[in-house]
């Protein structure tokens, strides 16, 4: 039993981190819709989960977790989770997916609007019992106001769609875990930025980070992130890899505990990021409330991703049923 990332998994995360540092600096969030996507595509990022036969590396969600966390830490815009994680479960054979030439958005159940749908070549509309594939040319989009400037929302209408009977559950579970991993990255960056600010900013003659009230709130954020992350890691192990490719999938089917584990991960990651955002704003004071500071992008991402793929409350409600109803046990 080795509940720690392998060197390969960490190396992939470090590579993505380096690319995002170089090509998705905070300034890019103000000007570009998909900064660093080309460079990520060049790395093979969009083929990581695709089967060998589709030009992919046939990795599992757990393998790419550190890399996904980095996309959250960098606040990377664009439908990353939808294209790199959800699509390989549903449309692995789609030409151009592995190369990053094709971009996918999704309208999950329970949500009103599809994020980044204007960038998408393909829209997945998930319904109970199956899903619809809608191509760009059949879609009519209406922009809707949302909290996150780098994750615009769209109301979706369409006349023509292709209905698919395959279950959409495993794909949504994987996308939910990927979103939880991004939330961990967002929370870590909010914590780091706020710690740096608290060291530099003085009030009443001392760095505000030397005040116990500030210290203890930041410590609470650190604890929340520290204990949310392992739940995300476990959930990634539980969801199983995409199995749609001709060469067969990498990691098989979800564990019986997958739904419970995913809800635990998403709720904990959303709450940790929400706490990190709250404390970041409080420590920054009024300056954190301005459009000039980059902080706002991470705040917005914490809020928008907390509501994506099931709100924290929805996942907490599922956990009540799963845990109190007597689901799969804890021990092997």
């Amino acid at each position: 039993m080795n509940f720690g990332f392998t060197d390969d998994q960490l190396a992939l995360g470090a590579t993505v981190r380096d690319v995002l540092r170089a090509h998705c600096p905070p300034s890019a969030l103000r000007t570009e819709r998909r900064p660093a996507w080309k460079q990520l595509a060049g790395l093979g990022f969009f083929g990581l989960l695709l089967p060998d036969g589709s030009g992919g590396l046939a990795l599992s969600p757990a393998d790419v977790l550190p890399a996904l966390e980095e996309t959250g830490r960098a606040c990377l815009p664009g439908p990353v989770v939808e294209t790199a994680v959800l699509a390989p479960y549903l449309v692995a054979h789609l030409p151009g997916l592995a190369s990053g030439a094709v971009c996918v958005s999704v309208l999950p159940p329970g949500q009103a609007y599809a994020p980044d749908a204007d960038l998408a070549d393909l829209l997945v509309v998930a319904r109970a019992g199956g899903w619809h594939l809608v191509r760009k040319e059949s879609v009519r989009l209406e922009p809707r106001p949302g909290v996150d400037p780098c994750r615009p929302l769209f109301e979706v209408a369409f006349d023509v769609s292709e209905e698919r009977a395959a279950p959409v559950g495993p794909a949504l579970l994987a996308a939910t875990v990927a979103t939880a991993a991004q939330l961990i990255g967002v929370a870590r960056e909010l914590l780091a930025v706020t710690v740096a600010y608290a060291r530099a900013r003085t009030q009443f003659g001392a760095a505000i980070g030397s005040f116990q009230a500030v210290k203890h709130r930041l410590a609470d954020v650190a604890v929340a992130v520290e204990f949310a992350a392992p739940l995300v890691h476990r959930a990634a192990l539980a969801v199983g890899g995409p199995v749609g490719g001709p060469a067969g999938g990498p990691a098989g089917v979800p564990l019986p505990s997958a739904e419970r584990d995913v809800s635990a991960a998403k709720a904990a990651a959303g709450e940790a990021a929400g706490l990190a955002a709250r404390v970041a704003l409080q420590v920054h004071g009024a300056i954190g409330y301005t459009e000039e500071l980059d902080l706002r992008f991470w705040l917005a991402r914490a809020w928008s991703l907390s509501a994506a793929y099931g709100t924290t409350d929805a996942h907490r409600a599922r956990l009540r049923t799963a845990v109190l109803g007597g689901g799969p046990g804890r021990y092997p």
Binding site: F204, Q282, Y289, A307, A314, R316
Partner: protein
């Protein structure tokens, strides 16, 4: 002890309610736009015409000399009616009480009626870049010149300054820390205003740059060097009754409960299950808690109003109210966001959420309020003190 409104109080409530029902406009454009500013100012003039803009002020200045209880009734009805936010707020709630208490008869006659009608719209100029919560560290200064003062320096976080006609704040005329600060009013004409865009993209705040702006003698409030004492009286009213009357939070809580009920109905019809419990009970619990807490804030304020009407001073207890209402407001708006999910932007709740986030920060951060409560209400020693 009772909660029974007198016949006069009930009549006043009925008058306010009827007038608002007849006159409250459809939602106005945001007051931080030029168009919205003008619309809000027109609304203030309409209110003033009915002598409802500053009901607690003396009649001489445009009010009705109403009691604090009447003012609370007005506020309850005002916000319950969905009436517009007050663009004159910094003037009528911050500067106004200070003018009434510390101003000369000439200053009161000159400024208060115009303020009550929205003819002048006042912006506050407290904070500076290096003096946010620590007001005593102010460095902006006023230099004496014949007939008045010239102002120099840099203020920030001035609410709605982009469109205001006048401003007021503290400027150093001598001394260090809280000694030698002077309370100055000034026209905005010669102030260089740089709007600060907020999370919602609108310039709710501005930076003010002073490079010799002239303020005549007649626009100094109280004695030169006495500004700290006057400002403390003002910020104490900012934290206390006047900035955040319960009416606002009661209205928010009532709308929140309605939103939660709707969410429950939507869930019930979506699941097509007649027997299913409609709203997630965890969300229902938070909604009920907010509703009750808004009620607690209202009741607490009634008790405080009675004490103030009996002649007591608003003491450091006001800090407890600031912590309570700001956290309640944030909890309410956070719950609305959680209820609405990705539909939040379709409603006014998103803007309200962004605004509520600032509540624990402005008017003295809640960290500072907690320290005030601990030291001045509970009597705990200051940092470093030995018993």
């Amino acid at each position: 002890m009772d909660l029974d409104f007198s016949p006069a109080e009930r009549a006043f409530r009925a008058e306010v309610r009827d007038w608002l029902r007849a006159h409250v406009p459809r939602p106005l454009p945001p007051m931080d736009t030029a168009e919205g500013f003008a619309a809000h100012r027109a609304w203030e003039a309409l209110l003033a015409g009915a002598r409802l803009s500053v009901v607690s002020w003396p009649e001489r200045y445009g009010g009705r000399g109403a009691s604090l209880i009447d003012w609370l009734i007005f506020e309850e009805e005002y916000w319950a009616a969905g009436a517009p936010a007050r663009v004159t707020q910094n003037g009528i709630f911050l500067l106004g009480p200070s003018l009434l208490r510390f101003g000369t008869p000439e200053q009161r006659d000159r400024w208060l009626p115009r303020m009550a009608r929205g003819d002048d719209v006042w912006a506050q100029a407290w904070s500076e870049p290096e003096a946010g919560s620590d007001l005593a560290a102010l460095t902006s200064r006023a230099e004496p010149v014949p007939g008045g003062w010239r102002l120099y320096g840099h203020k920030t976080w001035s609410s709605r300054a982009a469109h205001a006609t006048h401003g007021f704040g503290l400027f150093r005329t001598s001394g260090t820390r809280h000694h030698g600060l002077t309370y100055v009013m000034f026209p905005m004409d010669d102030v260089a205003v740089r709007p600060i865009a907020q999370l919602d993209g609108l310039p709710g705040f501005a930076e003010l740059h002073f490079d010799g702006v002239f303020a005549p003698e007649s626009m100094v409030l109280g004695e030169p060097g006495d500004g700290w004492r006057i400002a403390m009286a003002t910020t104490s009213s900012e934290r206390g009754l006047t900035l955040r009357s319960p009416g606002r939070f009661l209205a928010t809580a009532d709308r929140l409960v309605a939103l939660a009920r709707d969410a429950g109905s939507a869930t019930a019809s979506a699941t097509a299950s007649a027997t299913a419990s409609t709203l997630d009970p965890a969300l229902a619990d938070r909604a009920a808690r907010c509703w009750v807490d808004a009620e607690a804030y209202r009741l607490h304020t009634y008790a405080t109003a009675r004490r103030l009407m009996a002649g007591e001073e608003a003491g450091p207890e006001a800090s407890m109210g600031k912590v309570f209402w700001s956290e309640l407001d944030l909890r309410m708006h956070t719950l609305a966001m959680d209820l609405l999910g990705d539909r939040a932007g379709d409603t006014a709740w998103l803007d309200g959420f962004l605004f509520a986030l600032a509540g624990p920060i402005y008017a003295g951060t809640n960290e500072i309020q907690r320290t005030i409560i601990a030291e001045r209400v509970l009597g705990l020693p200051r940092a470093g003190a030995r018993p």
